[in-house]
């Protein structure tokens, strides 16, 4: 049993990603969409917290939202995986439930 968590707010003005990381369990996946894609930037004030969960929680970033914001995938924390809308759908089907962090 596992959960897909989606987050859509930038972590630099909002504690939503932080709360999500504090509540997800090993085997879960976190998908960053919309302004939350900034949360995957390596070297940011958020990076250490994100990386601290990456051994047990998979991190995905929605590619279209990343490209829209001009962020190169090479700038992301190591291990973050970019997915398209098709990958988003796959993630929803691969997990038992989806929890949106608004």
């Amino acid at each position: 049993m596992s959960t897909l968590h989606t987050v859509n707010k930038s972590p630099f003005g909002n504690a939503t990603l932080s709360s999500c990381l504090g509540h997800c369990l090993p085997g879960d996946a976190v998908l960053l969409i919309e302004d939350a894609v900034y949360g995957a930037l390596d070297g940011s004030a958020m990076a250490d917290q994100v990386k601290s969960r990456m051994g047990e929680v998979a991190l995905y970033v929605l590619d279209g939202d990343l490209k829209a914001r001009g962020i190169d995938a090479g700038k992301l924390v190591s291990g973050a995986k970019c997915v398209g809308y098709d990958g988003f759908v796959d993630l929803v089907t691969e997990h038992d439930r989806t929890q949106s962090w608004l």
Binding site: S19, H23, L25, D28, R97, Q99, S100, W101, L102
Partner: protein
């Protein structure tokens, strides 16, 4: 009975700055008619929804906090509140309104609906659901 699902309504916003909190309560009340296994979670700023003594006279919006006390009549009797979220905001359980329900399986004894849980327990509660609805 197998079609009863576990629904969790996750509340992470304070009560009056946005419409999220009121909308959540409306959806919970609507959902209660479908006889599912309903729980509510209050974490982060969502814990502010349950403070006692709310008075909205001066801001011109409805004070919906008394409505939480009616949830027991709709068999919504599990309101999980995260202890860490209370602590971070300088609140204790005593700052929250008393919300009770009458337990039909225990001679209608009045019991508290609010259950303060740790962040780790909250994570387990979330992972135990069929459906999670966020507000």
């Amino acid at each position: 009975m197998s079609d009863i699902k576990k629904f969790l309504y996750v509340n992470r916003k304070p009560p009056y700055g946005t419409i999220y909190a009121l909308e959540s309560l409306e959806v919970v009340l609507i959902g209660a008619a479908f006889e599912q296994d309903v729980s509510l979670a209050f974490l982060d700023d969502g814990v502010f929804q349950l403070t006692r003594g709310q008075n909205t006279d001066a801001i011109g919006v409805k004070n919906f906090s008394p409505t939480f006390r009616a949830l027991g009549d709709y068999e919504v009797t599990k309101l999980y509140v995260e202890r860490e979220s209370l602590d971070e905001r300088g609140l204790t359980e005593g700052d929250l309104q008393e919300i009770t329900y009458e337990d039909e399986d225990d001679d209608w004894e009045e019991k508290p609906s609010i259950r303060v849980v740790s962040r780790a327990e909250m994570a387990e509660i979330m992972a135990d659901q069929d459906v999670v609805l966020s507000f």
